[in-house]
């Protein structure tokens, strides 16, 4: 089992996510991360992360390619791509020490504080999935009341 990344270009029509995701459900594969964005052309790009062996990954690529609204399925090598995740963190009321700790770690990781009111704050971070996990762990998960994550967005490093 290896981490697989598909970048799927498809028509931006209702139901397209369901058509894509049911290919995974049917084969009992869990999707680790799924993000959708609209390209300048008006087409949608779905980026999917999942674990599968070679045979299953290739079968899924063909199954998804076969779907009517799908235009192209790009298989992205995690080793030669840029992976980012954005996370918004909302804390509970903090004491002064905790406040400084959160601000310190967020700023050290290149993030920023978006809102603060009373003793609570909202911070933004971006980075690899692992980087973000690390920051949350360093601060201590009990500090956060809500964590909103974008899922992983990926682009291959290749330039024309």
């Amino acid at each position: 089992m290896k981490t697989r990344i598909f970048s799927i270009l498809c028509e931006n029509v209702p139901g397209v996510m369901m058509r894509v995701s049911r290919c995974f459900t049917r084969r009992q594969i869990n999707i680790d991360s799924i993000t959708v964005g609209i390209e300048p052309s008006g087409l949608a790009r779905i980026i999917l992360l999942f674990q599968a062996d070679d045979h299953m990954a290739e079968l899924l690529r063909r199954l998804i390619s076969r779907l009517t609204p799908v235009i192209d399925v790009q298989v992205i090598d995690p080793g030669t791509s840029i992976v980012r995740e954005v996370v918004l963190l909302k804390t509970r009321r903090l004491n002064n020490d905790e406040m400084w700790k959160v601000m310190h770690h967020v700023e050290k990781a290149g993030g920023r504080i978006l809102e603060s009111k009373g003793n609570a704050l909202i911070a933004e971070l971006s980075g690899s999935h692992e980087d973000i996990e690390k920051v949350i762990e360093e601060i201590g998960a009990d500090v956060f009341r809500e964590v909103a994550r974008s899922g992983q967005v990926i682009i291959s490093r290749e330039l024309e």
Binding site: R22, R26, H55, L59, R62, L63, R66, L67, T68, I71
Partner: protein
């Protein structure tokens, strides 16, 4: 551009696709379209008695004609009753266009009366499906639906048609064609063909395994030509029956769980297997680890998903079966003269003779093998044999000699009991001059016997030959063989009286209890000028043998 209602637009769009028949049953949410059909001369609507019957009839129609069959229903239960038939068509790659009414767009998602989320329900069981949002979209959607249903690997397409879209008016134009993004890869890859030719030249024991894809591609002549050129025997899947005349010296018949023994042994012994339009279904392959264990495998299929899905493949050829076989034949012609595999052909000939199945039983109660023999004796090569599902189907598949493609129609992938009778109605509508027989079991026939009314009212004179053993026979067989004879919930009792049932509908009915009566009664049924039911009382203890137990090896058959 002409201003018309969506209902008018859908009928015009269907006519533009050459649709001549619709199998359907109206209801509240599709009345606007039926109101247009009321004046329609070019399309004949055949009113079924249950929507499942409409889907199977459209499927049977499509399989005989090689063109899409159309079915139409109302929303909610009407549409959901289509699902088994649509899934059946999907599993067997049959181009069915299903159109169902839907509640008005303003009511969507409010659990309105007879609202069902058919977009979601149909999504996993169609090749593609649509919900139309505006009347002006209709012509394009219909055009696309037919394009999708028939291009590359065929399959069903569902169109959900909200009521306000049918009633609303718009400027519409029936497009001559639409841009469909998926351009199928029809031409085989030259390099793969070259590799295939090389393997075929080297092979000492080549074998062709042809299926439904070869039938859809119209590759019958190419399969026979290649077989004769190579001296390669041909085995088929259930859906491949008829791709080669089954009395051809190189035909070994169907392989698999209830296949011919010679076919299964040939698969096990061959050193090269050329799969054409097959998906290596588990009922065909048995345990894949022992499927063609000595062979290199070449697989021709138009759907890349099928390549390597179930069995390892040495040479994959993605493309149209007919074109790929033609390319292989041309490639072989350029090779130096190849020795005919005479030892292999001797072996095949010997197996064909020694393992030919026995059918000449005279016993009473009648043996089902004898029934198939008698039916074969009465019907000509153009007759269409449709089957129900279960023992009756496997007896037909095992014993019946089919000589032409599209003349043996059966529910393969889904194994849908109740398919045969409505499908035979569709088959007869597709080919009114053909004799059409439904080889049925009593259990299967009862699942859609209400369509006798459809057949009688529309003068669709098909003959149902019930192999009546008063059991859900295939389940009983498994219970006998694998569950110590504990026949749980398989005895159907003595009801109904199928002759009276036929007569109640105004059909012809008669009962057969002796082998000698089968042929004369069948001839009478075919000539009676009505739909007919022949209730043939068979030996309830008879099993379909030989048999490869589920997951077993093809060369280890129970006999």
């Amino acid at each position: 551009m002409v201003v018309m209602t969506g209902a008018k637009a859908i009928v015009e769009a269907l006519k533009a696709e050459g649709v001549k028949h619709i199998f359907g049953l109206p209801g509240g949410a599709i009345i606007p379209v039926y109101d247009v059909l009321y004046d329609e001369q070019e399309i004949k609507h055949i009113l079924v008695r249950h929507e499942q019957g409409a889907a199977h009839a459209a499927d049977g129609y499509a399989r005989v004609l090689g063109k899409p069959g159309v079915c139409m229903t109302t929303s909610g239960p009407g549409a959901s009753n289509l699902t088994t038939g649509i899934l059946n068509a999907y599993m067997d790659s049959s181009p069915v266009i299903a159109i169902s009414g839907q509640v008005s767009t303003s009511l969507l998602g409010r659990d309105a009366f007879q609202e069902a989320d058919m977009l979601s329900v149909m999504l996993p069981i169609t090749k593609h499906n649509f919900i139309v949002r505006k009347p002006e979209e209709i012509p394009k959607v219909v055009k696309l639906a037919f394009e999708i249903a028939t291009s590359d690997r065929p399959g069903p397409v569902h169109i959900d048609l909200p009521r306000d879209v049918q009633v609303g008016e718009a400027d519409v134009q029936i497009p001559a064609n639409v841009t469909y993004r998926k351009i199928p890869k029809l031409e085989p890859d030259v390099e793969e063909v070259r590799r295939a030719v090389k393997l075929l030249v080297q092979a000492e024991r080549p074998l062709i395994f042809a299926g439904g894809g070869a039938i859809w591609s119209g590759a019958s002549a190419e399969v026979v030509e290649l077989a004769e050129m190579l001296g390669a025997p041909v085995v088929t899947s259930l859906l491949g029956k008829g791709i080669i005349p089954e009395d051809h010296p190189l035909s070994l018949g169907m392989l698999g769980m209830h296949g011919r023994m010679a076919a299964n042994i040939a698969v096990t012994e061959c050193d090269l297997l050329l799969g054409v339009g097959v998906r290596f279904d588990d009922r065909a392959t048995g345990d894949v680890r022992y499927f063609a264990p000595k062979a290199k495998i070449i697989h021709i299929d138009i759907d890349p998903v099928e390549i390597g899905k179930n069995v390892r493949v040495d040479v994959p050829i993605v493309g149209d079966a007919k074109r790929a076989l033609r390319a292989i034949i041309d490639g072989l012609r350029m090779q130096a003269v190849r020795q005919r595999p005479s030892k292999w052909l001797e072996r095949i000939e010997k197996m064909r003779k020694e393992l030919a199945p026995r059918m000449d039983y005279d016993e009473v109660p009648i043996k089902p093998q004898r029934v198939i023999k008698e039916i074969m004796g009465v019907l000509n090569d153009d007759a269409i044999v449709v089957t129900e599902v279960g023992q009756c189907q496997m007896w037909a598949a095992h014993y019946y000699i089919v000589r032409k493609p599209r003349r043996f129609i059966s529910s393969g992938g889904l194994g849908t009991m109740g398919f045969g009778f409505p499908a035979s109605i569709g088959a007869k509508v597709a080919c009114p001059s053909c004799d059409v027989i439904d080889i049925a079991g009593d259990g299967s026939f009862l699942m859609n016997s209400q369509e006798l009314a459809t057949a009688v009212e529309n003068d669709i004179n098909v003959v149902v030959c019930i192999l009546n053993n008063r059991y859900l026979g295939m389940v009983k067989q498994w219970q006998d063989l694998f569950y110590r004879g504990r026949r749980s919930a398989v005895y159907l009792g003595e009801t109904p009286d199928f002759v009276k049932l036929a007569e109640a509908y105004g059909a012809w009915g008669d009962r057969v209890t002796r082998p000698s009566e089968i042929a004369p009664k069948l001839r009478e049924a075919l000539k009676c000028g009505k739909p007919a039911v022949l209730d043939i009382i068979i030996d309830p203890e008879e099993h379909v043998l030989p048999m490869v137990p589920a997951g077993g090896r093809l060369d280890q058959m129970l006999t």
